[in-house]
């Protein structure tokens, strides 16, 4: 009887994860989500319909959550201020930090929210038009939330690298013409 159970468990585990092709797809999409299914099929030496199905499966499972663009807002001359906020929280019985986190991440100003190990509990990224706007949001919305003990706000002055992409990196090919 136990033997029968094991394969079922195993196959469930495989279904939960991703197959080799899906892993390859994720690697490519991570760098360029605009790539077409046809091009992916050529790159990975697969049929386009298989790629399509694999991506649909990844989306359905919530593994691919969204397709984002990495933007250098400074260059776009758009006023966007980003602050990284260290939040200390009193965990709640039965719900840990989840309930407070949920209250925090609902705000559209909050673009990221993670539970941390170490000196504080929640790491919250807030975006706004001005420093004042962000500071007011922290003072009026974030800090007063029940169970939030303290907030330490750090404003981003300059972004060098984000999402694995180095900003302001010249993309000129500097290879000299060599004879070989």
């Amino acid at each position: 009887m136990r033997k029968l159970k094991t394969p079922g468990l195993l196959s469930k585990r495989i279904l939960k994860g991703v197959c080799h092709m899906q892993k390859e797809i994720l690697e490519v999409l991570k760098k360029n989500s605009r790539i077409t299914v046809e091009e992916l099929a050529v790159m990975l030496n697969r049929e386009a319909q298989d790629i399509k199905a694999a991506i649909a499966d990844l989306e359905e499972k919530g593994i691919i959550i969204a397709y984002n663009t990495v933007i250098d807002w400074e260059k776009a001359e758009c006023d966007i201020v980003t602050a990284y906020i260290e939040v200390k929280v009193t965990p709640q019985r039965g719900q840990g930090f989840d309930r407070v986190a949920e209250r925090i991440y609902q705000y559209p100003q909050v673009v990221a929210c993670s539970l941390m190990s170490g000196g504080f509990d929640l790491f919250v990224v807030v975006e706004g038009k001005t420093m004042k706007e962000v500071a007011l949001f922290v003072a009026e919305k974030l800090a007063p939330i029940e169970y939030v003990l303290s907030c330490a706000t750090h404003f981003v002055l300059k972004k060098y690298k984000d999402n694995g992409v180095i900003f302001n990196k010249p993309c000129k090919d500097e290879r000299e013409a060599v004879v070989l």
Binding site: E27, V28, N32, E39, V42, M43, L44, N45, D173, R175, A177, V178, V179, L180
Partner: protein, 390 residues
Amino acid sequence: MNIKDMIKPYIVNTPPSGIRKYFDLINEMKDAISLGIGEPDFETPWCIREEGIYSLEKGKTFYSSNAGFIELRNEIARYMENRFKLSYDPTSEILVTVGGSEAIDIALRTFVGPGDEVIVPEPSFVAYKGCVMFTGATPVPVELKAEHRFKLQPDQILEAITERTKAIVIGYPNNPTGATMDYEDYVAIVEVLKDKDIIVLSDELYAELNYKGSHVSIAQFPEMKDKTIVINGFSKAFAMTGWRIGFACGPKDALEQMKKIHQYAIMCSPTMAQYAAIEALKNGEGEMRRMVDEYNRRRRVMTDGFNKMGLSCFEPFGAFYCFPDIRSTGLSSDAFCERLLTEEKVLTVPGNAFGACGEGFVRATYATSIDNIREALVRIKRFVERVRGQ
């Protein structure tokens, strides 16, 4: 005195590489895409660069032993054993050189000289023939064929062997064709060479860039190991071209003599590069795999692109080159490359730059971004359609 008259005739008679003139042209162009440069477009992985920097910061700026730091040779021995199942004694059978190029040069100088013949299968890396000629020996080209996917053919080698044949230079994965040699391919070649007094110089710089399986070295055949000098390096696998660091492995008696030339001509390889190379072998594999995976994806896109536009291109399983057949356009390799560059601003290299039998083909490298490859394919397709319509 006219200084020109003082130069040795075989230096004067060695033709310069045929690639140069195109590079001069592209330098003056805007928005040109180069599929011409035979080097990785990736920067050296940071962990490797950092080791080079550290060595300078710590003032480690002195000569190393002639053969290279023993720590590096130990790492190379470990690497050759783990990756290719080839055992070499780090103290006597490994020599760290200034790129694979120096290894090719000193190996040839050690074994061949005036009156000797060296078999050079073509199309191949332009330096083989030149380096043979600089020794005063005669290169004997063997013309590899597209129908054999540019693999070595035993009967062709047998035909080229004379009493004067001293060595054969083979380079797989191959520049410029992207061809590879599998174990089965080598079996017949080994049959031809095993009983002959012919040295094999096996240039395996592209060994890691093999997209079909594991790289096979002719030295893996026990009957060949004692007559083979394996040349490898860091330039292609670890994107370290500018560091100039490579190595040669082979029988002790040969390496000892090669080391003499290296010692008198070079002293030792740049030590900054040696420190970086140690890091490459210790911790660089992950980054190297990432680059190989990326080349592999680009390779498929480029090969597919050429075949779809009717420039038949066998699937290259090694290096970072496609070698499409352009004969269907009715143009010569030179005319194709020149017109493609002036009309569509895409640089490729004519196949005959790598030996006469490369005529009818062009070399295009996918060591460039996928965006460049995509755009280059659009332009080449437009060009080919226009030429065919004329």
